[in-house]
């Protein structure tokens, strides 16, 4: 059995930051228990010794598909900006600053 150690509150907040989620206090409390249950359940995969087994990332045997790097028309600016929460001229507008 591999690592089924409990995820700490500190780790949980670190993961939430990596995922850019500002969790509320009640969510943190609820998620702590749920994540530990889920991680405990999925850790089952480590029961198997699969050192000689290759990974599968895609279910079909497919070859890479290359396209020529040629410019072609894409979405007009107005359509690209049609769903923008906020815009300025031809740009998406966001609040300033913050090391994101």
């Amino acid at each position: 059995m591999a690592d089924t150690q409990k995820i700490s509150r500190e780790q949980l907040l670190h993961v939430a930051h990596l995922a850019r989620l500002e969790l509320r206090e009640d969510e943190i409390e609820r998620l702590e228990g749920q994540l530990n249950d889920i991680l405990q359940a999925v850790s089952k995969v480590s029961e198997l010794d699969l050192s000689d087994v290759p990974p599968t990332s895609h279910p079909l045997e497919v070859v890479n598909v290359w396209a020529d790097d040629e410019p072609r028309p894409c979405l007009p600016v107005e359509e690209a900006l049609a769903n923008a929460p906020e815009r300025e001229g031809d740009f998406f507008k966001v609040p300033p600053g913050g090391a994101a």
Binding site: D3, A19, L21, S46, V94, P96
Partner: protein
């Protein structure tokens, strides 16, 4: 008078071609049914106005991008989002003259097995509105069963077409991975997501599949079908070998009434001339759930990174950018996407990647090999689709793992990229039981053949008893 509860898509198409009804009359008949029954069932998140034309109406799960028609994926973070282009499947339907009735309810980002994770409230099962229609594509399945659409498209990652079809008593196909374009579809877990048809008969299901399948330049994971789709004809099943995997048929949690209905259907398969034999998928079922609930959250955490409040969708008020991202995502996503984003981000993070994600990908190889080995002996595999009939609303919402177990029997074949067809096979406690047929990759025609023969032999009435 058009009886939308009884009319098959095939018959509707014949009526249109013979000019016995007009496209407008047909569309209006479904709109009338929606007005009458959808307030109770909540299958639709958005209902369209008749776009005109002479083709059949169709409903689309709300993860399918539609130009000019809101597409929310059941999430608050996409509230008000109106795509500026059509997904490839919608383009193909429009070329055939099909007309969109509306967008159907789904668990948020297709994450769930009951539609209870929809930010817009759950759908209800037409057989018993106090019960769930299954999920994530419960809106599409319930709409077809209740006569609110002749057929519909769903999407399936680990059972989201087959399981709701089972719980609502209709036919649903999860196609072979790569046969239907994902271009323009809201992504959940890209190595598993597949769009597929939901219909009232196997022939309708095959017909709809033929309209959407095939290679798409815009989705490089798609392939051309090795042979064209064939509408199944009445024929016996002589020469076919059908395997009954022990672990999928005897799993803990399968209700006795479900097991009995499936066993009776298996006896019918033998009566139709098929050779039936027991077989085993020991590791696929035991490790499938764990594998699925690592790989899909990992892919989801990456796919859902795009929802940042910058280009489309919901944005929370904030004075500073990082705060805006984090608050937008906290307020915009519901509990289930957040749980999966957290699990996925954790499983992909430094120090845990090898033990979780990389190991799960190896388990996926094991699952694929186990299925490949069975298809050297058998043409198709049979089992229940869902361990239970439709469960009451609220029964599994407090316990994420209990909800995850709803897909125990559909997940293994999805991990292997295999096609699966749900065919209704009877009732238990007055609710539909679904039978799952799984074949090798690209064996859709054979699944249609078996499903059609079984459907004819069983004579299941797909109209919910309370609506007859």
């Amino acid at each position: 008078m058009i009886d939308t509860l009884r009319l098959s898509a095939e018959e509707a198409r014949r009526l249109l071609e013979a000019r016995e009804v007009s496209g407008a009359e047909l569309y209006a008949a479904y709109r009338t049914a929606i007005d009458a029954r959808d307030p109770e069932l909540h299958c639709y998140l958005h209902v369209c106005e008749d776009p005109g034309g002479d083709g059949l109406p169709i409903a689309l799960k709300d993860v399918i991008g539609t130009k000019g028609i809101p597409t929310t994926a059941g999430s608050k973070i996409l509230e008000g989002y109106v795509p500026v282009y059509d997904s490839t499947v919608v383009e193909r339907l429009k070329v055939q003259g099909l007309r969109i009735l509306g967008k159907t309810n789904t668990d948020e980002f297709a994450m769930g097995s009951s539609t209870e994770n929809s930010a817009y409230g759950p759908s209800h099962n037409p057989w018993d509105p106090s019960r769930v229609p299954g999920g994530s594509g419960g809106g599409s399945a319930a709409a077809v069963s209740a006569g609110l659409a002749p057929w519909a498209l769903g999407s399936d990652t680990g059972g989201s077409i087959k399981q709701p079809a089972a719980l609502c008593g209709n036919v649903g196909l999860r196609p072979t991975y790569g046969t239907v374009s994902r271009y323009g579809i809201v992504a959940f877990a890209s190595s598993l997501d597949q769009v597929g048809p939901v219909a009232r008969t196997v022939r309708d299901c095959a017909l709809l599949y033929s309209l959407i399948a095939g290679r798409d330049e815009c989705d490089t994971t798609t392939v051309e079908l090795p042979q064209p789709v064939e509408l199944p004809q009445a024929q016996d099943l002589k020469g076919l070998r059908i395997g009954v995997p022990r672990e999928l048929n005897e799993a803990e949690g399968i209700e006795p009434g479900v097991a009995a209905a499936v066993q009776a259907a298996v006896a019918k398969l033998e009566g139709l001339g098929a050779e039936v034999g027991e077989c085993s998928l020991p590791l696929s079922v035991e490790y499938g759930m764990a594998c699925y609930y690592l790989i899909t959250p990992a892919e989801a955490s990456s796919n859902l990174a795009r929802y940042d409040g910058v280009r489309y969708g919901y944005r929370a008020d904030a004075d500073e950018r990082l705060e805006m991202y984090e608050r937008t995502r906290d307020e915009g996503f519901g509990d289930e996407p957040k749980r999966r984003i957290m699990v996925g981000t954790y499983a992909l993070s430094a120090g845990y990647y090898d033990a979780y994600y990389a190991q799960a990908q190896k388990v996926r190889t094991v699952i694929k090999r186990e299925h490949d080995a069975l298809f050297e002996t058998f043409d198709a595999l049979v089992s229940p689709t869902s361990p239970t009939v439709a469960f009451p609303l609220g029964a599994r919402t407090a316990d994420p793992i209990a909800m995850y177990l709803s897909d125990l029997l559909t997940i293994p074949s999805c991990m292997a990229g295999l096609p699966g067809l749900n065919v209704p096979c009877g009732l238990s406690e007055g609710l539909p039981v679904g039978l799952q047929l799984v074949g090798p990759q690209f064996a859709e025609n054979m699944l249609f053949r078996i499903g059609h023969a079984l459907e004819q032999a069983i004579g299941f009435d797909p109209v919910p008893e309370r609506l007859r």
